[in-house]
């Protein structure tokens, strides 16, 4: 066969082979498509924005899940209608289901909703008070294990039941779940509470001594409309809620943990009231064991700015500043002592002293670890605070001044 002939034959041969393989592929393709490779269409998704956990009223040992499901079409209308509260269509609907454990409850939803819940976009876990008191570990376990939950979803403890929290209409954002989330993030401004997410929960649960702390959320009833407000923290022993910190105690707790970002400290200098704003704060926590006794030294450096002052005497003078700094130091000190007293009262190491000890004195730590509860109450704390005021706004003396 002359060279062209053989080449032509090879071409035909190759062409034929390609045809056969193409034929086979064609048969495989629909097979693969039809085999349904885990593709889920966007409009089939049941997007869950917030999950609330309450005790089931009928039989108490069940768990009642409240899932806040987004109705995407209504988002279009109600937002364009200026978010007027009068719009009939709400952009979400809360669906409840009760069962033995969380996973069964989640699957229970398929009776009520057309598809499996999609919890990848879940913003917040709201846990009712009774569930918190009964212990949250076994309820959160499913969510930690599921691959869809984001580790950055926040955990909030409702002072009443989660269902009510998730029902409060929000003026600003359309969905209550997002509203709760944004509220917690805003807490950084006045440091009365702190955003705690699933990752924090998992890592605190890992260490035997530190006890878990989560922000509390309350409903304020003003006239006919309700508001959500985040104040104070709930303290957990193992995974059961044992106590609450109010604002000042929370502030003290945040000082020790070094989580203060900004906030207000008001003091009275003589007859004048002064409010200073915390610009930045740094905490160093270190532990020592001196002849068998555990001493935690906390060193806090804080710089602030004079936000406002009453009266006419200008305090933004050199001498005035010194006085204010002393008073601020005193105020921080009493916040700290409040927090430490409450922690000792609840016998819960919310500050992570155990961890600090573990890190520096790992050998002695073996001995202390078992009876940490008793040891914690005997822990001595010495506190060292250094404050400085670095400014007083754009005016050098109050408008109504004496001269």
């Amino acid at each position: 066969m002359s060279p062209e002939g053989r080449k032509a034959k090879k071409m035909r041969k190759m062409g034929k082979k390609l045809k056969i393989v193409a034929l086979l592929l064609l048969i495989c393709l629909p097979m693969l498509m039809q085999a349904g490779c885990g593709a889920r269409e966007l409009n089939e998704l049941v997007i869950v924005m917030g999950i609330g956990m309450d005790t089931d009223t009928e039989n108490p040992d069940n768990i009642k899940l409240v899932a806040q499901i987004v109705l995407p079409n209504n988002i279009g209308q109600s937002s364009s209608a200026g978010g007027s509260s009068g719009s009939s269509e709400k952009a979400y609907c809360n669906v409840e289901s009760a069962a033995e454990n969380t996973f069964e409850a989640i699957r229970e939803y398929t009776h009520k909703v057309c598809n499996k819940l999609y919890i990848a976009h879940n913003q917040v876990f709201v846990i009712g008070r009774e569930v918190a008191e009964r212990g949250i570990a076994d309820y959160l376990d499913f969510f930690i294990r599921a691959k869809e939950t984001r580790p950055t979803t926040t955990i909030v403890i409702a002072d009443t039941t989660a269902a009510e929290i998730l029902d409060v209409e929000a003026k600003m954002n359309l969905l209550p779940a997002i509203n709760v989330n944004k509220l917690i993030e805003a807490q950084a401004e006045n440091s009365q509470s702190r955003e705690i997410n699933v990752q924090d929960y998992v890592s605190t649960m890992q260490s035997e001594t530190t006890s878990f702390v989560a922000p509390m959320i309350h409903i304020l009833q003003e006239g006919e409309n309700q508001f959500l407000s985040i104040k104070g923290m709930a303290v957990f022993k193992e995974d059961k809620m044992t106590g609450e910190l109010d604002e000042d105690e929370t502030r003290g707790f945040l000082w020790i943990k070094g989580w203060i970002e900004s906030g207000v400290i008001n003091i009275t200098a003589g007859d004048q009231q002064v409010a200073t704003e915390i610009v930045s704060a740094k905490t160093e926590l270190s532990a020592e064991i001196k002849d068998g006794e555990i001493i935690m030294n906390i060193k806090i450096t804080e710089d602030g700015v004079i936000a406002t002052q009453t009266g006419t005497v200008n305090l933004a003078t050199l001498m005035g500043i010194g006085e204010i700094e002393a008073l601020v130091k005193e105020e921080i000190l009493n916040e700290l002592t409040l927090a430490l007293k409450k922690a000792k009262e609840l016998n819960a190491d919310i500050f992570g002293f155990g961890e600090v000890l573990h890190q520096h004195y790992s050998k002695e730590w073996e001995g202390i670890r078992e009876d940490w509860d008793t040891v914690f109450s005997k822990v001595k704390v010495n506190i060292e605070i250094e404050t400085n005021i670095s400014g007083a706004g754009i005016i050098t003396e109050p408008a109504l001044s004496e001269e």
Partner: protein, 69 residues
């Protein structure tokens, strides 16, 4: 099951004619042996037959000589 048959027939169509034309008998022989072994195993697997697990074999072997952690 059908995927297995389809996949293996695609393999045959793709490789076999080339080997025959270039008269590489040795490669063709071993190709068909390995292909047959793969085919049989796959078919058994597709039919859900519980095949012996090689790692279990290794484990038992190492257990007997007590060398594992």
């Amino acid at each position: 099951m059908i995927i297995v048959i389809l996949a293996f027939s695609a393999m045959v169509v793709w490789q076999m004619p080339k080997l025959i034309k270039e008269r590489r008998w040795r490669e063709l022989k071993y190709f068909s042996i390995f292909l047959f072994v793969g085919f049989v195993l796959n078919v058994l697997l597709a039919m859900g037959v519980e095949l012996p697990d090689p790692t279990k074999g290794i484990q038992i072997f190492f257990d007997t000589i007590k060398l594992h952690y």
